[in-house]
């Protein structure tokens, strides 16, 4: 599928874009902000990672092997779960880590299967050209959602310990005692996705759509993809976060319905 309408950027023109990095470095120098090093590393890593990704993707697209595609998805899941563990800030109990992994994998897999087989329906089912970028968007957004809800849940269980215990003392079911905080954690995890939908198309064109339009796809086809992708992300974030939250709160109670704000071991 050769596309003639996209201009291949000549090498020297591509290099010229790095002038923007130079501009930033000059600003940092003049203002005396010690950030040049970090920016230089970031620019270097961005270049290296994208070049590698370009070659790896080319290779994967050419091979178009179902096992390879699934392997990439698994690697993405693993990396996303690892990132959540790192980002959550506090030390997580083993049980909580398991819960995070289960809800990430279950939530994103269900949405991916539905999305690939029902919504887009491409052939063959493992076509990496579709499967990998879609999985990236779904897994990445669920990752952010679960990270937010983990942080929020741990924070409110610690700060609202007295409220939760006070409710238990009156005879509350553990589920009822934590309900307001669990709901709040769900809401704060899903809200960024909803806000993103509000600004869509007016404030910014998302990366995927920009890419499609640049490569010659008609804006009308591009928005079709963008709409279904956004809905897929919404579903995946919602599903993995609710799974996480419903499974997670049990980690904070023992069989005697006694509450442990740090999570029981």
């Amino acid at each position: 599928m050769e596309n003639s309408s996209i201009i291949d950027i000549e090498f020297w023109r591509l290099i010229s874009a790095y002038l923007f990095v130079l501009l930033l470095i000059i600003i940092f120098k003049v203002r005396g902000i010690a950030r040049e090093r970090k920016l230089a590393i970031a620019a270097f890593r961005m270049t290296l990672q994208l070049v590698i990704a370009g070659y790896v993707l080319t290779y994967l697209f050419e091979l178009s092997n179902p096992l390879l595609t699934l392997g990439v998805i698994l690697t993405m899941e693993g990396f996303a779960i690892y990132t959540i563990y790192k980002q959550a800030g506090t030390r997580l109990s083993v049980n909580l880590k398991k819960t995070i992994a289960i809800s990430m994998i279950a939530g994103t897999s269900f949405c991916l299967v539905f999305f690939n087989f029902v919504v887009i329906h491409f052939e063959p089912w493992y076509d990496p050209r579709y499967f990998i970028p879609i999985a990236g968007m779904i897994i990445g957004n669920s990752m952010t959602g679960i990270t937010l809800s983990v942080k929020e849940l741990l924070k409110s269980f610690t700060t609202q310990k007295d409220m939760i215990e006070g409710a238990l003392m009156l005879g509350a079911d553990p589920k009822a005692a934590v309900k307001p905080y669990v709901n709040h954690a769900f809401d704060s995890a899903v809200l960024p996705t909803i806000n993103n939908m509000l600004g869509m198309g007016i404030i910014f064109l998302p990366g995927m759509m920009t890419g499609q339009i640049l490569s010659g796809v008609s804006p009308l086809l591009a928005i079709e993809y963008q709409i279904v992708i956004l809905l897929g992300i919404l579903g995946s974030v919602g599903l993995s976060v609710i799974l996480f939250i419903l499974l997670a709160f049990r980690n904070f109670f023992n069989l005697n319905a006694q509450f442990f704000p740090e999570g029981k071991n």
Binding site: D162, M163, E165, A167, M169, G171, D173, A176, Q258
Partner: protein, 223 residues
């Protein structure tokens, strides 16, 4: 075991906080728990409400081992009021309704709720925002809420710490009368000697022997 026994505590230890070899608490009595800070008063209350379990020893509730009783069912009959009044966002009525909801019991009508508030010496309407209440009012709202529940045992952890003496006497006087009417039992932590002298039918002083002695012996033995 005698039939008027409510709680029987046998050889109970919780960390280095509490050490009770033998303690009986009787049914339909007002029992006051006193003792200096760190004596384990709140810990004892939480044991009775099954918010915590002892490291060793056993507690019996009406003759049955507490460890075999479902925690939530137990707490619905043996309700506890913590030191920090539990106030939810919303009106006074919302807060009273939360009590029934969390306790899993059937709510009463507005007239009963209004009366409950007035009995606690509060001149507030049901639709007023509970968040704007003073510390003392929040404490009384929490007391009104727990008294509306049809419990067998009421465990109160310093329920009137934020009240002035006159209000304290009136509020507690009403609470005691209602408890007697319900044939319920009351176990209360208090710092006030006066309250203990005026209302207690049974007294437990965790700073005095045998509790204090046992603790000291235990600490010495551990060294």
């Amino acid at each position: 075991m005698t039939t008027d026994l409510l709680f029987a505590i046998r050889g109970v230890r919780v960390n280095n906080i509490l050490n009770v070899d033998h303690l009986d608490i009787r049914k339909e009595k007002v029992t006051c728990i006193t003792g200096e800070s760190g004596a384990g008063k709140s810990t004892l209350m939480k044991l009775l409400n099954k918010m915590i379990s002892p490291d060793s020893g056993e507690i019996f509730y009406k003759g049955a081992p507490l460890k075999d009783i479902d925690s939530v069912k137990h707490r619905r009959k043996v309700v506890m009021l913590s030191q920090v009044p539990l106030i939810f966002p919303g009106t006074i009525k919302d807060n009273l309704m939360m009590g029934y909801m969390l306790n899993g019991s059937k709510p009463d009508g507005d007239e009963v709720l209004k009366q409950a508030i007035h009995n606690m010496q509060m001149t507030k309407e049901l639709d007023e925002d509970a968040g704007t209440l003073s510390g003392g009012e929040k404490q009384r709202l929490a007391l009104a809420r727990i008294l509306l529940l049809a419990a067998d045992v009421y465990l109160l952890d310093e329920p009137t710490a934020a009240l002035d003496e006159d209000t304290e006497i009136m509020v507690l006087g009403h609470f005691m009368a209602e408890i007697k009417k319900k044939h319920a039992s009351l176990i209360m932590i208090t710092h006030s000697r006066k309250i203990s002298e005026q209302y207690a039918e049974e007294r437990i002083d965790l700073s005095q022997p045998p509790f204090r002695e046992e603790m000291d012996n235990n600490t010495r033995g551990g060294l």
